[in-house]
Symmetry: C2
Subunit: 587 residues, 2 copies
């Protein structure tokens, strides 16, 4: 039996004989003495084999990287010159006494000393996960889920499983379908979230529910999307928004304290409107000090139509970012930012370098300076608080284009110029609109079960465009960690929302009839929230992709190079399921 993990052996074990299991991380022959780095999930320890015990030495000499071995040895202090303070085991080494090869290893198809392609890493995931950085991330993730569970269970939350084989949901993104064998021609859907089931559990009186649960979305994959992902799903009865926010903020603060020794402090609140106005985003990264500064009033009367037009249009916006140190940007860099803003619909990027603030309007450099009077330029400098060496980057277009393009530019410039301050900047975004209007049609900004804030069904029906929802998002460093809302618990309110969304009575009945029916049997007020576990762990570990905190992720085309999933089904199976595949036709 193992005495301890390799990574846990330290000076307190000096003089003890230990038994270890692990993998040969490195083998070196230094002047007739074999040095092994033996690795297990907790770390690496150095083992030394002298030639005294002939057969053991011969075995040690035959070892190659990634051989799996069992050994015993005596823990001793390293000579002072060899102490490595960067390793947890760096004060000691083990004088090997016995050695048994449990399994040999061929040369690995992955070279850990260089970048391997994503495809190779996923094909040999079991080897990629042996890399200490990857092992540590999975260990960290396991500790996070354990800590979250203990927090919630100690707080009275019940872990209740909801079905994976369920009915298609109405949440925008695409469902994965599963053909039914017993009900031929019909399909289950994999859940995009357990939303309706957790609401039903509140109707059941379970009071406080949580689940760390797989959810599924058949979307086109981007860097941070996976076909299956994991939610920390929470729902409570008799708590309002403040109650849910208090519990979940306490949970996340506790988690950062426990796992990273970081005190996140109390989370500030920001309205959706303010977040969009100042940061051009509903998930502002507050580490970035830049804000979008409105200047329409200053530019409303200039002759330069590019500014004057939107400045006088009620649906327009004229605003700018004041970027510290940005005066050193090259013309090419500025052109690059203009292209970037173009992705968000901006037709150009006016700029103004403040080369010498003391020189006033004379001290600025800008292609548009000629269109602006010295007074206007002075006003711009005062409004933005620009300093010598800064650059102003202007947006002038519709409200949405300016807000989105400057919001995106803010993040890009902030990263490029290393403007971010502080490591962790959480906040709550609240007071979302209930609906967004696209082409005269209202859509739910969260989902159709979200309650409005302080409104009767009649008031909501009369003012859908301005209604605020009782929803809240937890945002950290520009990422949405989680989002939730108070849910509708009364039938007339739910019917009103379906009506505003243009869902007919028949459609509502066929899709959500069971929910509407359930609302009539003493449904309690309830509210909840769901966190994206993968993203949370990614942020906490500093990984650059959620793939790096999942054991077996899919590629960006939703495939698994390790198992070769998906694969072709045999025709018997398809016959049983009463489906056939359609050959791809020329289009």
């Amino acid at each position: 039996m193992r005495t301890d993990y390799c990574g846990n052996i330290n000076a307190s074990h000096i003089g003890q004989t230990v038994t270890l299991f692990g993998w040969v991380n490195k083998r070196r022959d230094l002047g007739g003495v074999i040095f092994l780095d033996l690795r297990d999930r907790e770390g690496i320890v150095q083992v030394v084999y002298d030639p005294d015990i002939e057969d053991v030495f011969a075995t040690a000499n035959s070892l190659r990287n990634e051989f799996c071995v069992k050994l015993t040895g005596l823990v001793r202090a390293r000579p002072d010159s060899q102490v490595n303070q960067d390793m947890r085991t760096g004060e000691i080494e083990i004088l090997g006494k016995t050695l048994e090869i449990l399994n040999k290893s061929a040369a690995l198809p992955l070279d850990w000393n260089q970048e391997n392609s994503e495809e190779q890493r996923l094909k040999y995931r079991y080897l990629d996960l042996r890399r200490p950085v990857m092992t540590e991330r999975l260990l960290f993730r396991s500790k996070v889920t354990g800590a979250v569970r203990r927090f919630l269970e100690d707080d009275g939350f019940l872990d209740i499983e909801t079905p994976i084989l369920t009915k298609a949901t109405p949440e925008g993104a695409r469902d994965y379908l599963v053909p039914s064998r017993t009900h031929k021609g019909q399909f289950f859907a994999l859940p995009q979230s357990p939303q309706l089931f957790k609401q039903l559990l509140m109707m059941s009186g379970m009071d406080k529910y949580y689940q760390i649960v797989k959810c599924f979305r058949d979307e086109d994959l981007r860097a941070d999307r996976q076909p299956e992902f994991t939610q920390i799903d929470i729902e409570t009865t008799f708590l309002d928004a403040e109650g849910v926010m208090a519990i979940t903020e306490r949970m996340i603060r506790g988690l950062f304290q426990q796992m990273l020794d970081v005190d996140l402090g109390e989370f500030p609140r920001m309205s959706y409107a303010q977040a969009m106005q100042d940061y051009g985003s509903d998930k502002p990264d507050l580490r970035n000090p830049l804000k979008i500064i409105d200047v329409a009033d200053i530019l409303a009367n200039v002759e330069f139509k590019v500014f004057a037009g939107p400045a006088n249009d009620p649906k327009g916006r004229v605003a700018c970012l004041c970027v510290p140190g940005g005066a050193s940007l090259s013309r090419k860099q500025i052109d690059g930012y203009a292209d970037y803003a173009g992705i968000y619909g901006a037709k150009g990027l006016a700029w103004m370098k403040v080369n010498d603030l003391a020189a006033g309007p004379e001290g600025v450099q800008s292609p548009i300076a000629k269109f602006l009077s010295p007074e206007i330029i002075t006003e711009l400098l005062m409004r933005t608080g620009a300093q010598t060496g800064d650059i102003l980057l202007f947006g002038s277009d519709t409200y949405n284009v300016v807000t989105e393009s400057l919001g995106a530019l803010r993040l890009k410039v902030g990263n490029d110029l290393s403007l971010n301050q502080g490591e962790w900047r959480p906040l709550w975004v609240v007071d979302f609109p209930m609906f967004e209007e696209v082409d005269g049609q209202f859509h739910a900004l969260h989902h159709p079960f979200t309650a409005p804030r302080d409104m009767t069904p009649e008031e909501l029906a009369a003012n859908p465009a301005t209604a605020l929802s009782n929803a809240y998002d937890m945002v950290l460093n520009g990422c949405e960690l989680g989002g939730g809302s108070v849910r509708i618990h009364q039938q007339d309110m739910q019917a009103t929302v379906f009506d505003i969304l243009g869902i007919t009575k028949e459609e509502a009945q066929s899709k959500f009839g069971f929910l509407l029916e359930a609302l009539q049997y003493g449904t309690p007020p309830h509210a909840g929230l769901a966190f994206g576990l993968d993203r949370l762990v990614m942020l906490m570990t500093g990984a650059s992709s959620i793939r790096d905190v999942m054991a077996f992720p899919k590629t960006t085309t939703a495939a698994c190079p390790l198992t070769n999933a998906p694969g072709v089904a045999n025709s018997e199976q398809l016959t049983e399921l009463a489906i056939t595949t359609v050959k791809k036709t020329e289009e």
Copy 2:
């Protein structure tokens, strides 16, 4: 805010004003005083409304069953005559001071005072779960998973998630398929277990893995099967069978101690061969004292061919059960048992009642007595240890028919005559055969990754029919709680097993190529086990079906009457997935 749950209010709160939320379980008007039973997930408390506060009393008077309310009141001792020691809250009652109706309720479609159909219970599952017995089961289940997680995490196990969208597995039962949109014509499969992934995690050096995880089998459903079910899945590195059995036995013993205050004691071991011989089952219910007693040697030379034939056939078996008190069975009851044995292939059921043991062979009553000499009858009575009032039930046929039919009869008779002794009788069944042979073809008794016990690949290839596997099942009260094995960790052994199973090199390569490849990179010895969580909780709560310990189970035709899943998919979705449904043809 709530002071506490209804079910938690007790004598220690007397004199305090409490705020409670809950549902009206019952409302009675007794002489102008309203008595409410207020219910939440933790229990029921009695609230009394006097007519003094007029408007509050009017509200109390308007309450109906299942209204959801918030109230405050003063906790006071009940008059001695009304103390109910059977209720946790039975010493106190609450004098209501305020009352707010949070939501009304229509009359429930389920009548809790009578049996409701399974279909109705599932359609209104959110109401069925309000029944205290159902609520308690879900609370119990949540506590079980919490306790299991804490045990395993404290023991160094990592909670690691494995994919739900994966490749078809070779484990007998049918896979649920999920058409891929990005890889048209191809399918994911939902996992029947995370077997291969947990083995890959051991190859990754994760050392100790666990997961409480959904698994899927598209089988024809029986009373104790569901399309999706939950496993406590465990895998360890560098532990042998003893090591895994020790940890998991400790876990289950700890769980029973903690949840039920039951000491299961040390689990006895029994070989598969002995279990089949004595109990006719690989999961013997040891509460039942009956054993199958072999009597072929006694009956080998009788003229009665029904006995003599199988007694002299190397593949035959002649055996009996000695049922205490069975002499009182009627002819009709015995015929019933004969029919029951017939389900398992028995062509009849010979019997012998011991009406008076002291009278020797004269004291028995049996249609077959006339074929047997007094000496033979005496030998049978001595071998079986029969007492006056017992009955002997005989099986005589092939080994399998006798073993299975008497094994099944043993359980049925034991239940019918209430012979079971003791509440909890766990054991380990070990030394399973590696393979079972059907029509000259070997099949894996567990799965094809199970290691043989103490054999080289060459020895295994030479003796597949007699090889024992290094597998172990934990059995409790006749149910398999969990099963596991030491896994094959060497490529030549895995290839040998595939070969014995008749899996060609090409097939092995296409299905398990990644596993065979992985085995060459220093795969460690590893072993594991998986428990069926649903069945475990069912046994522990005394529920009669796993459906009663799941929040949202499916019907026996794998449908959900609540959400109406599965449902018809729209044609756009199917086009995107490049599949079509096949109309049912006349057959």
